[in-house]
Assembly symmetry: C2
Homo-oligomer: 328 residues x 2
């Protein structure tokens, strides 16, 4: 089978490719061809080096989508996006990539199918940013999309397109509405959501971290490993079970910052927890107050999607996957 990963250099893209390389039969059939595309050159996994083509592309270029689809991939992971902050700052760029680039991909599939029968599986990374405050305490499966950012708007539009193209049989799509990924590997960044990961990742590495909000802030999380699992499951599941509502809120863990810190204390001790420095930031607190805190993901759960149920587990996954299994 031919697998295409768009956004293969991103955090989830890299982990997904590692997973494909490490478990050759994870998608069922063997991967005979792997195409990795991103705005920056994606890393080629050694185990699949002989069948992999890595490309740098701009999804906003008219020629990109037809070029990617000309190879008739059987499974397409579409993870590429201009992230929230940038899509808000640069209106044209956000719409060009997140809306037009995604639509161009979908259209390229349709055109290829008009040439010769073709109906690939398409797994699309959506986001809980399709929802906008005010929220009920628990956001149900039929809560409406009223995004409060251009990024969330673009994701919500892509979800609608994915459902319509799937309904028409142009491709077999599943929209994966990701929780906030925690613990993000790497270094602290300035995203408003960065602290959720920073306050665990940095102390686990023996470093100080800043907490800009109060401990009672509640949010919705899944590990990077769970996120990769969502995409693998969506690529291999029986999509006849989904019906026409093709976009699914993924399962996650609803937890407070205080619960994050308690889990850190249990897993890594008081010394690690003491590395968190409280430095209230009213701007970040204000942004975060508009975010959802809990979902009813039973629809996705019934379809076999799984996430973590405790923060202890999320921290242990980080230690296993990023810290070679041990604390410093």
């Amino acid at each position: 089978m031919h697998v295409l990963v768009i956004g293969a250099a991103g955090m989830i893209g890299r982990k997904l490719v590692e997973r494909l390389a490490g478990s050759p039969s994870v998608l069922g059939d063997a991967i005979e061809r792997l195409t990795l595309a991103d705005a920056i050159m994606p890393a080629v996994p050694e185990a699949l080096q002989s069948v992999t083509t890595a490309l740098t592309v701009d999804l906003a270029d008219a020629g990109t989508a037809p070029k990617l689809i000309a190879g008739r991939p059987d499974i397409i992971f579409h993870l590429a996006a201009i992230v929230s902050g940038e899509a808000e700052a640069d209106f044209d760029k956000g719409y060009a990539v997140n809306l037009d680039g995604t639509r161009a991909l979908f259209e390229a599939i349709r055109r290829e199918g008009q040439r010769e029968a073709y109906r690939p599986r398409v797994l699309f990374a959506s986001s809980i940013a399709v929802f906008g405050a005010p929220f009920p305490d628990i956001i149900g499966a039929d809560f409406f999309a009223t995004p409060l950012t251009s990024y969330g708007t673009q994701k919500a539009i892509a979800e609608l397109l994915l459902a319509d193209y799937s309904r028409r049989g142009i491709f077999d799509g599943v929209g994966i509405r990701l929780p906030t990924i925690c613990i993000r590997p790497g270094t602290p960044n300035k995203a408003a959501s960065g602290f959720f990961s920073n306050i665990l990742r940095e102390p686990l590495a023996g470093k100080e971290a800043v907490l800009p909000v109060s401990e009672d802030v509640r949010h919705w999380f899944a590990s990077p490993r769970a996120a990769v699992g969502f995409f693998i499951h969506a690529a291999t599941m029986d999509t006849n079970l989904i019906g026409p509502r093709r976009n699914l809120t993924m399962p996650g863990l609803s937890a407070t910052v205080g619960e994050e810190i308690e889990a850190l204390r249990r897993v890594a001790g008081d010394k690690a927890a003491s590395l968190i420095r409280r430095e209230p930031d009213p701007v970040i607190a204000g942004i975060v107050a508009g975010w959802p805190s809990n979902f009813d993901a039973s629809r996705a759960e019934k379809l076999g999607f799984r996430a973590e149920s405790t923060f202890d587990e999320i921290i242990r996954i980080h230690i296993e996957d990023e810290l070679a299994g041990g604390l410093p």
Copy 2:
């Protein structure tokens, strides 16, 4: 003030223009300029002849939106659309007009505003087709958009764009999610929803009508006069009261076909009601079974939108507006 009506030759467009011509101050300030655009040449109202420009345009042409916006209209009624059946039959045309045409209009406003400060009021005709079965008994204000047609998808996408462009201050938009309009004037058509109007309009004119579904079919209605009222109210209301959720399910009347017929009997007598011929059509019954039947429109009601509360009223409006006030 300069008023632009796109889709001015359609049923609601014509009635809206008649209303503007008949009540010169209905929008507050006097209409100093009126631009009417449609795919077919719109009729020019005599009372506003000296200030009206009528144009035939194709909203899917790249040049159309900038041309319409170059005149910097203060109020824009966007009623133009490829209707549901045609958008389903012709994928490219539906997306080209309903999505790309609408987005081109919104983008032309943004470009004009970048040239010189500009923030018109935009009133957009959306549809309950943004919703898809299965439904709760009463569809609430926060029920999600999961359209089951390409037309509904295009309307739902336009709603998302309207909300994002309004949030960013590019224009001041209100999305008007119309009930099924009843009684549609004119002649019986083949739209699956046509019978809802046919079984009243034809008997009121002394003619036979065909009823293809059972009398317990329930649906959601408003008169053409109410629909025009929605747009006028949206054009003149204080939009600060709406908040970021710019798309509103309009009030309507939830009624069964049996209730329609009883109202016909009360208003026009047994003889009129006896002109309805039962001719069950399983195809139409199947289509209609997927349609919503009742909404909670209290949000729009609190914002001052009004529809009819009985079918007697809907029938009387038809007699007043279409039959010169009398029955044959």
